[in-house]
Symmetry: C2
Subunit: 350 residues, 2 copies
Amino acid sequence: MSNKNITILDIAKSVGVSKTTISRYLNGKYEYMSADTRERIKKVIEVTGFQPNKIAQSLKSQKSMLIGFVIADIESPFSSAAIKSVGNAMLGTDYNLIIANSDNSFEREQEYIQSLLGQQVDGLIVNTVKMNNPALISLANNGLPIVLLDRFVNDYKFDISYFENDRSVTAAMNHLEEMGYSHIALCTQPHEEISPRNFRREIFLKRLKKNRVENPERFVFVEEDEELTINNIKRLMDLSNKEGKPPAIICTNSVTLLRTVKAARTLGLRMPDDIGICGFDEWGWASELGLAGMIDVGLTTLTPSMQELGKHTAELLLRRIKRPEASKKEIAVPAQLVVRNSTRLKKENT
Amino acid sequence: MSNKNITILDIAKSVGVSKTTISRYLNGKYEYMSADTRERIKKVIEVTGFQPNKIAQSLKSQKSMLIGFVIADIESPFSSAAIKSVGNAMLGTDYNLIIANSDNSFEREQEYIQSLLGQQVDGLIVNTVKMNNPALISLANNGLPIVLLDRFVNDYKFDISYFENDRSVTAAMNHLEEMGYSHIALCTQPHEEISPRNFRREIFLKRLKKNRVENPERFVFVEEDEELTINNIKRLMDLSNKEGKPPAIICTNSVTLLRTVKAARTLGLRMPDDIGICGFDEWGWASELGLAGMIDVGLTTLTPSMQELGKHTAELLLRRIKRPEASKKEIAVPAQLVVRNSTRLKKENT
DNA sequence: GTGAAAGCGCTAACAG
DNA sequence: CTGTTAGCGCTTTCAC
């Protein structure tokens, strides 16, 4: 905080005018002063390198120009890409981002939001941990600009930008069935309170039911660690061995995707013939570099544009801040199915 | 900023005491009030959900509890991992991070720092774009707590946490020579103003000179895009074809590493026999998941602990804030050479 | 054109 | 134990 402690008053004295005039200068109200004083003020400010104290400005103006960004798991590539893209989208504006990592804890999410409110943020971007989130609803009702990131909250319409789930999962299912894989499993993380995971799971189950797969719940793998992944893959292999056709797995995010590929490798299974693996990939920069194409034989992915997600999120929030009464908007960002070798089952295997 | 606008005064009235008492309560000075009033204050605060206005607190206390974090390129995996790890290290503290992305522009770096100073940040973490940075030096001289992240600044001793370069590059060189690769090249990005790139380049050149390689500068590839990478690899292949032994490349960060692998694939070159590729890998999250092991045949990497880097950075800054006069510290975080298939040249090729 | 003064929400002497 | 008061650095009426 050691901003040389030079204040508006110092400048005023130095120029030989009052605080008021300096303040006016800072706020571009040049019509209230002579060209001469304006010029002199400019000089002094340049020489001294004076920076107006935003804290004091905020106290008066009731605007902090700060946006709170609460992310569920800063360790995941989704989050990195989200920070990057929202950050980029905020660039032209005067807003700064404060990042908080709730680390998948609802309690921490609550705490951070409280702390950010204390910080007087002008708005909040929340990648929430919980679908059931009355606290968030009440904040929104109190007029705090809030935009959700990818995850919905029950019983209230927020501004939100999210990845389109329905067509994405369906596209992957279509592709895998066409290639001739036998059983198809969905590999996800605990989902009770996370909306996209729920959506994806439901779409998947609906499809299996349509296909008259009995007891479809068997094919939803909820995994928290590698050991579980390995066991699930083993089970799946056993099932499909009886069919004479290999199985496939759809992973609902990049973390599970990598974990699944790693587990398959550990088990000595080769893609695409022993097993087909594909999944959502939100690794931002690395998507553009073609990471998925370089992993193992090349991974088939559902690749959404993180840049777009971030851009929409930022825009929604700025719009909400500017027009608190505007109607809520939900923006779906599509994910593109990029077919690579990991699911290109050779026809003779079918 | 719509914090329901409830202030310390509202609480005071509601409890029937003065602002002072509320303030004391907020600051834990319970010895200044009766157990009874304390209890009543607690009740009212809970009921109202009152949050003290940090802006006002900051104005008084001259502490914003905000740390500015200026990153050179938020798109790179290094940055994501750095944000994550510094963020984690700040968790227990009351400080919040404001992230600014200078996007490799020195001008933007300057602007952001000014803006953050205006924001009255209590300290700065800078992953600077320029070794030659008098502005940063003058800020430090003015008593602003500053910690550098990985990149040094000339002519001034800052607190800094950085990746150890000397032993890392040397270890990679030793390994590649042992495996029997002919020419070894270093693949880097423009480095004039970036200290680690300079260091790594110098260490590399010194080694080549020691090996009596003529005109060693030929083997430093400074690349900005994929096309250049492809051309450089072609040149290198031509050179080593004459030797009857394949060449190898050391990449100085994960971006160049991925680009190089991709280019080699494009050229139809297989690792490790046609070409050996290895490099620094700072992709944090993915390191733990073993990404490098999954790319192509598995990449040999120099893997530093991002967690450690972030932890040290945060600690250095907090220490500097607490003890402005403490002597400066430079902390080197070692990178571990992890040998994988991409450089395991089969002996018969030698 | 310019300035005096009040006040944003909070803290910290100083008095009782 | 509790309250009065004077600011923190800035913006904004209202007067001149």
